[in-house]
Structures are given as C-alpha cells and as structure tokens.
Point group: C2
Chain length 237, copies 2
DNA sequence: CTTGATCGTATTGTTAACAATCATGTCAAC
DNA sequence: GTTGACATGATTGTTAACAATACGATCAAG
C-alpha cells in the first residue's frame, strides 16, 4: 500500500488521482515558482490539467486554502496566495521557532542512510544551481528543509514545514530581489557538517542563522498597506 | 466586519453559518472532551445540529480532517480522531518546539490590557476548577495557551496552536489518567508572574517545564500496536 | 478621451437526484 | 449455539443540471 494519506483508504486503486496528490502537485509548482502569487486557478483548467471532476478540484482548492497557499474569493475563484509583509514575517517567525528544533532532532535521529541521502541531495542542489536550472534549484533548496523534518520523524512538524516552505517560496517571489538566490547552498552544506559531527546544537544554530539570512535578504520594509496594495495588486504577474 | 476568516468575503451576511464557524465549534467540543475520540460524526446529524446543508458539513469535515482532528474513512464516514501514542509524542514535540518561543514573544509584545485579560482568565480557570465545572475548566485551560499565541500576534502559530491544543485534549482523553487534571493551573499562574516581570526567558522555560509535566503525566508507554488497537477501539466512549 | 451603464458570457456556487458502499438483522447450515 | 451467507436499509460519494454572481465588451453620454 503506497503511503495512504491521512488514513483514508480511498477507492483510488489506480483509476483516479486523489486530492492529496493534487495538493502536493500544486505545492510543488508553487515552490518552484512556476505558479506566481496571484495566479488564477480556474476550476475548469485544473479539471483538464489533472483529468478529474470538478468536485475533486474543489476539495483540493479548499485544502490548499486551509493551508493559506491559495486564497478563495467568493464567486470569483481561487488564486495563488500573495502573502503580505506581515504574513511573511509571521512565516519566518514560525520557521525560526520550528526549524532549529527540527534540525537538532534530525541530527539526533539521523541514520547512516540519511547522511548519504543528504549528501546526495546537496550534490544535486549544487548541480542544478551550476547548470542554471532555476526551478529545480529552488525546489531542491526547499526540499532540503523538508528532508530534515522527515529525518526528525515527526509527521506534525513535517506537515507544518511543507506549508511553511511553500509559503516561503511565494514570499521570496514577492519580496525577494530577483537576482539573488533563495538559499545559499553553502549554508546547507554547513548544516550537513554539523550532521556528520553529530552536533545537534550546531545544526540548530546554523539553521537559525540560515533563516535569518534569508529573511534579511528580503525587502519586508513596513510599506504602508494603503499604497502597497495597489502596487502589488497591479504588479500581479 | 466581524473577523473574516481567511479573506473569504462570503455571502454569509446573516443567513447561514460558515464552514470556519462549524470547524471552530467542533474544535471547541473536542477540547471540552464532549466529543470523545472515535465518536462518529454523521453528516445528517451534523446537518441538523448546525442547520445547514450537507455540502457545508462535508467541507467542514474535510477541513477538520486536514487538521487531523477527525479521521475520514471512505464510505464509512467521519470520526473524531484517536491519536496513537506515536502521534501523541509528535504533538508534544511540536508544542515543545513552538510554545516556549510563543511565550517569549508574548511577553515581549503583551500590552497592559493583555496582562489584565490573562489575570482575569486565570481567575475564571480557578473558579471553574473549584466549582467542578469540568468541561469549562478544560476549555479554559486550553484557551490559556491559545491566548498566548494571540498575544504573540502571529496568525501562523496561532492556527497551529489551535490544532495542537485540540489534539492534546484528545490525547489526554485517551492516555490521561481520568482522575488527574489536565493542566495544573498553578503552572499558568507562574507563567503570568513571568509576564508581569517581563521576563520572556522565564516564561519560555516555565512553558517548557509545564508541557513536560503534562506529557509525563500521560501513559504513552510503548504499547505494542496489535493489542492496543483493540483496547482503545473498544474503550471508545 | 474618459466615464458610466447595459447586456451577454463565462465561471462559480448550490441543489437534488442517483449510484455505490457498508452496516444490520435474519436465516440456514454445521 | 455459533458461524457463515444473504438481503434489506441507511449512509456516504458522485454526477449533472440549475441558479447566482462577477467579468468583459459594447455603446452612449459628458
């Protein structure tokens, strides 16, 4: 049985794609920044894209909105979320609360295979970055943080991290300088060193530093909501 | 405009209750342990209870399942979740990662009114406890942790905490000794002292200690899944 | 040239009927 | 007396048609 979501023993034997898969796919597309903030997600288009009925798309969009990755506007449809500066700060604050602990737990619980996987992952990150495969580089960069949560073996925090990483991609898309890379993979490398040294505290500290670096590379200046709303609204896409 | 959920400007002017409200109500009932783990939530019953159509109930149940407060079993309906010992440990691990930070931030950001509200809240807790109003005492005890997240002014962590507090009530219902109280309100009192002293670090430390106390009061011993499933299954209600 | 209104179209939201699945109670067989 | 099969009833899941709302274009007025 392939990783049943939630515990729903759906009758999705091989016929159709499940809501969780659709959610996951859209998460991925958002992380890779192929779905920019504000993008309209029309039901009919998604039905065609995933080859499923409208009901399933509707449920998927509801799930996505409950994780604040899409915004539902009554009678107007679903749009990829456009986090405000305030929301951006909240996301980073939550990540700063969670991820140092996750890093520490991951170090404590990592097996030999995990270290191998992390090393292989960093290699892929490097390559994607070097070859200018931007989408993949971004995805792998986020994936690194997800992997730590997986190694920490905590489903609750893993789910939280998937949401936070996805929203972070949206935030970088809005507030990040277009030229600057999202994660300096050097940081990830340093964290791997802490893993090899089995130094949980060092991993936690490096993670804190890493997140602070990312946040400070953004322009979350207190733009007064009045004018900014118009600007970011019309700058959509 | 009364606190629009998500940002949906629903056409729920005064006619009908929104999904978010239903979710909130069920959260509350679970926190108060009036909906024990495993309770069946039939659609027709909920339709009648809330006076809404089936569609709305269905969406509410989907949202509740996405927060792991109810389990959806295909073709069999929705049931209040029964967290496993493993899930219970994960919930506490997540709380231990989040709440000390929340406590520290709350201390930093609390205004004079917040201190008054907290003091008033503690008084209500004491009274409910003293008067043996068990449901209310439990609800207030959980509410205290929610209030800290509100004072910390972080919507992301607030949402996470609502989920975690609710799931904690389920966990205590399953693994807690029936006689013991959920939160010793003395702990809450001590945390309030830290607020008055504006000592964020103390609040964080007290919170850590508080959570550890609660977890250690539970019986999360590694019961082999085989037998426990039957026991907890028949112990339903 | 811009502003405002009206209509047609397209998309979303809801309802109700239908199909499928599972639980319950009865009955026969061992 | 217990176990298995079977039919009935109830509950969930899906589909499709319908209603409602918002968008876009066209056009007239200032």
């Amino acid at each position: 049985m392939p990783a049943a979501p939630h515990e729903i023993s759906q009758n999705v034997s091989a016929d159709e794609i499940a809501e969780e898969d659709i959610v996951e796919r859209i998460f991925e597309a958002v992380v890779e920044q192929r779905l920019p903030p504000g993008t309209k997600l029309s039901e009919s288009a998604l039905c065609e894209a995933f080859g499923v009925g409208r009901m399933r798309i509707r449920r998927s969009l509801l799930l996505l909105s409950s994780r604040e990755v899409v915004e539902l506007h009554a009678n107007r449809g679903a749009y990829v979320a456009s986090p405000s500066a305030k929301q951006a700060r909240e996301v980073f604050e939550a990540r700063l609360a969670l991820e140092p602990t996750i890093a520490r737990l991951a170090v404590e619980r990592a097996g030999a295979a995990d270290l191998v996987n992390l090393a292989a992952h960093l290699k892929m990150e490097h390559e994607a970055h070097h070859d200018d495969r931007r989408h993949e580089a971004i995805r792998l960069s986020g994936q690194f943080h997800i992997m730590l949560a997986q190694i920490a073996s905590n489903a609750v925090m893993l789910r939280m991290m998937k949401e936070l990483v996805t929203r972070t991609s949206l935030i970088i898309g809005i507030f990040g300088a277009p030229s600057v890379a999202n994660c300096r993979d050097d940081d990830h490398e340093r964290i791997l060193f802490a893993f090899k040294a089995r130094d949980g505290q060092a991993a936690a500290d490096l993670m804190t530093e890493h997140l602070r670096e990312i946040e400070s590379s953004l322009d979350l200046g207190n733009k007064n909501s009045g004018a900014v709303d118009l600007v970011s609204l019309f700058a959509r896409k």
